[in-house]
């Protein structure tokens, strides 16, 4: 992995925000990274507020252009005001209340800079019918966590395959990911022979991979807060918020 790649992975949202607001040569890239991290949760909030998928995508794009750029949210962002997650949620809630801006969403342009269309990330085609049953806040937090889990999972896959540990990835996929998606776990009897391992060795390998995933997930979560000491509190908050409906 390159040095620049490592640097971007360990940057917190606040690091990116400071860079995005600072007018440096990397500002545009930082802005896009923040926008990409936020897009799914913002979209989920707007969608759960009763907008159809096209309106929600348009409003999300509008929010990013209007609030991130035109209103200079990033310049105004003050980490002492709280967590970035809370700041974005409050901003998008206010944005939706602004009826005039919503009506003109399709024509707005930022005063400076730009954010490319990111709604390709929304995976709207797979959006389940049950999603609108969530409150907008619950939808926001669920998608926020899902985005972090997804990012961690993709990093895990990349790293394991780069290490030549296909067995580790496949065992994790069959025993952890698949049950999360459809409730069905691949059996060790099915997985173990594929990789010339016994059931015990498979289980031990899975523990190692789960720990690696946990470490990546914690790293992703730390990137969303500025003070590492807040991690435990942030996780407790997210668990409570995920249970709220």
């Amino acid at each position: 992995m390159s040095q620049s790649r490592n640097a971007s992975l360990t940057q917190t949202n606040w690091d990116l925000i400071r860079d995005a607001a600072g007018g440096s040569p990397t500002s545009q890239s930082s802005l896009e990274q923040v926008a990409r991290r936020c897009w799914p949760a913002i979209y989920a909030f707007i969608r759960a507020s009763g907008r159809n998928p096209d309106e929600a995508a348009e409003l999300t794009q509008g929010f990013l252009c209007d609030v991130f750029l035109a209103r200079g949210l990033l310049e105004k962002a003050d980490q002492s005001r709280g967590r970035f997650r809370t700041l974005v949620l409050g901003s998008v809630r206010n944005y939706l209340a602004d009826m005039h801006r919503r009506k003109t969403a399709s024509t707005r342009k930022p005063k400076s800079g730009s954010i490319g269309r990111l709604d390709d990330l929304s995976e709207r085609t797979s959006e389940p019918a049950g999603m609108p049953a969530l409150t907008p806040e619950a939808a926001f937090h669920a998608r926020y966590v899902a985005t972090i889990i997804r990012s961690s999972t993709e990093r895990l896959q990349r790293e394991l395959l780069a290490d030549g540990d296909e067995a580790g990835w496949e065992i994790f996929r069959g025993r952890v990911l698949q049950p999360s998606i459809d409730g069905s776990a691949a059996s060790y009897e099915h997985l173990a022979p594929r990789f010339g391992l016994g059931k015990g060795a498979c289980a031990a390998k899975l523990l190692m991979v789960k720990r690696r995933f946990a470490s990546l997930l914690m790293e992703e979560l730390r990137a969303t807060i500025d003070n590492p000491n807040d991690l435990q509190e942030e996780i407790a908050d997210l668990l409570t918020l995920l249970q709220a409906r």
């Binding site: 799914p40 989920a44 995976e123 085609t125 797979s126 959006e127 389940p128 049950g130 999603m131 049953a133 969530l134 619950a138 669920a142 998608r143 966590v145 899902a146 985005t147 889990i149 997804r150 999972t153 993709e154 896959q157 990911l177 049950p179 999360s180 998606i181 459809d182 060790y188 016994g198 059931k199 015990g200 060795a201 289980a203 031990a204 390998k205 899975l206 523990l207 190692m208 789960k210 720990r211 995933f213 946990a214 470490s215 997930l217 914690m218 435990q232 996780i235 997210l238 668990l239 995920l242 249970q243 409906r245």
Partner: protein
């Protein structure tokens, strides 16, 4: 149950699973030495309370002891902390001892000298449960006669 379309491959993951994943990742990130061995043990014997109970239970088959041995063997070298690796080494020896005592079977290719050392260390380790140490003492007797 509500779902979110946000996992690789455009699959949906349930909201409950998001909570579960977050919870176990956090617990795993902070788990003490015994937690890893316990987790592995339950993957092999789901009803087991902990590794000690699994190894000592009369209902644990020879095949299950062999799988437990292989799991602890890997954890002995790949555990994340020294206490975890040390515990795994003791459990590894304990599975071999239990197979010898209860099933009269050797499930190890270790040299006789290495086995004797491992059983002796387990029998003398006061941090291990008394019953596990007794199994190691019994195994030493059988091993010595063999």
């Amino acid at each position: 149950m509500t779902t979110e379309p946000d996992m690789p491959g455009h699959h949906s993951i349930t909201s409950a699973s998001l909570s579960d994943t977050l919870r176990w990742a956090f617990e795993l990130d902070q788990s003490p030495a015994l937690a890893g061995a316990t987790w592995i043990t339950r993957e092999i014997i789901p009803a087991a309370r902990d590794p000690f109970e699994a190894i000592l239970a009369s209902s644990t088959s020879l095949d299950a002891l062999r799988e437990l041995k292989n799991a602890y063997k890997m954890l002995r070298t790949s555990g994340t902390t020294a206490p975890e690796r040390s515990l795994a080494a003791r459990l590894y020896a304990a599975t071999i001892a239990a197979a010898l005592v209860r099933h009269h079977a050797s499930i190890s290719t270790q040299t006789p000298a290495a086995l004797q050392r491992a059983f002796t260390d387990l029998a003398e380790d006061e941090s291990m449960p008394e019953r596990l140490r007794e199994v190691a003492t019994l195994a030493l007797g059988i091993h010595g006669r063999g």
